[in-house]
Amino acid sequence: MSVIQCVDLTKSYGKLKAIDHLSLDIEENKITGLIGRNGSGKTTLLKILAGFLKPTSGRVKVFSGEPFNSLQVSTNSIFIDDTMTFPDSMTLSNILTEVAPFYAHWDSHLASGLFDYYSFNPKQPHSNLSKGSKSTFNSILGIASRCPLTIFDEPTTGMDSAVRKDFYRSLLKDYLEYPRTIILSSHLLSELEGILEDILLINHGTKLLHLPALDLKELAVGIRGNAQAVLRFVEGKEIIYQEDFAIGSLYVVIRRGLIQQQLEEIRQSGIEVLSVTTDELCVYLTATTKGGIDDVFNRS
């Protein structure tokens, strides 16, 4: 059963289309990673799903209802980002107890457990926290609220690597115990890979890919070697990314399906066949030019 359905969804700010005819389905109880470049429309999409923004056109359904301004959707979802504000008159421990009654599945035991683990000062107001600590605190709300739809928009902003790892682990552990639909947007795909089931890649407000994370890993392959030899194999095929590796040597990323039969042959002709990490692949797929930043320097 799909929890989220978007059909031809568009959101424009004036002339700029933040979301451009996007259609997607997200299934129940899956962890989906929303990946995209800066300004690709990730936050806008998540805010539409959370019911904060109204789509300009197209249909969006969350739990089979329109999310905008919907009490039903709000009751069953939580949106976590680093701009969440809490009143200064409340201390951190106050916030946890005051927010709890709003969420039916709230686990106060878990919340206080995580709160103590990250050794927050219970008397501190939220606005005094550092960037990383704010994200950490907000993530506690996201996990402990156990909403059927939990949305994290860049949850790890400012977190150090130890805390990030703890966050991924705690999220995964709680998810396994209480499955729910989780959407995470992040730039750190390499770190997230381990916990994501599906990956949704968007660029310029449109969907590029929506695949299980494992399939994405196998999607492309990189081949590196003598430029002429490499070109012989990839000629006429759609190249995802191309880079001059050294003089006379070329690195090309290409869909695995296109050269699956030739892989043995390629290996025998002395060309290296490399796997492409999902993180790199997403960067290549969303790049505006085929040669990446190098193009800027090679223009002369």
């Binding site: 009751t75 009143p87 005051e98």
Partner: protein, 244 residues
């Protein structure tokens, strides 16, 4: 995980209790404002003196009206503040929609009106007590010094009604400016312009709410106007997007 059924009123009520705790700083501002007004009141609101060759009479009047006026200003500013982004953003981590947020704001403003109305009326009593113990009693005119309990209650009720009305006006103005910043300029311009063109209008509006014969009629007018203003504000807010 199963989805939970919802009820607008119960969520608004939860938000209301959340806001009571969240907005304590606003209430602190009221207390400071009232203390300041009380301090001004101790200087007297008007003084008059006349005399002939061998007799001088000077008369100074004291009143705690400034406290009520300051409280009205406070509730106006508070109502406008509640519609602004920083305050509306505080609703985002909570369950709710625009309507539940507005209902809880109205609830908070009503509570604030009652609190401000009661305290500002009691400030009149406090002023009398301070004067009784610190001023030269032989020079005091006691005619209107003592305040009957029924008068105190009446004063409270009227103050609460005014505060409620002003909070509705403030919330409406705040909502308009949230829709479009142009209203910051437009509203004062329209008010000023209308008053210049229709000179009798201010007089009749004033008479409609202020110069009145019976308390129930006055209360009815104030309550209906407030409900209308809050209602329109909610309709406006219901179309707006949260947390852009």
């Amino acid at each position: 995980m199963s989805s939970t059924e919802v009820n607008l009123l119960s969520i608004s009520l939860k938000q209301y209790f959340y806001k009571l705790k969240a907005h304590t700083d606003l209430v602190n501002r009221l207390i400071i404002t009232q203390l300041l007004a009380l301090l001004f009141s101790l200087g007297g609101v008007s003084s008059m003196s006349s005399g002939s060759a061998n007799l001088t009479v000077s008369l100074r009047s004291y009143s705690a009206n400034i406290v009520i006026i300051f409280s009205i200003l406070w509730i106006l500013i508070t109502a406008i503040l509640l519609t602004t982004k920083p305050y509306k953003k505080m609703e985002m981590p909570l369950v709710g929609n625009r309507i539940s947020g507005d209902i809880s704001d109205v609830g908070f403003l009503m509570t604030a009106s009652v609190f401000a109305g009661v305290t500002s009326s009691l400030a009149g009593v406090l002023l009398r007590v301070i004067m009784y113990f610190t001023f030269d009693r032989s020079k005091m005119g006691f005619d209107s010094f003592s305040l009957t309990f029924s008068d105190l209650l009446l004063g409270m009720l009227v103050a609460i009604l005014y505060l409620g009305l002003i909070s509705a006006v403030g919330y409406f103005i705040g909502m308009l400016t949230q829709m479009n910043m142009a209203f910051i300029v437009l509203i004062p311009a329209v008010i000023y312009g209308t008053l210049r063109v229709y000179t009798g209008l201010a007089q009749s509006v004033f008479e409609f709410y202020v110069v009145d014969v019976s308390l129930p009629l006055f209360a009815l007018r104030v309550i209906i106007t407030s409900i209308m203003l809050f209602g329109v504000s909610m309709l406006l807010s219901n179309r707006m997007e949260a947390g852009k």
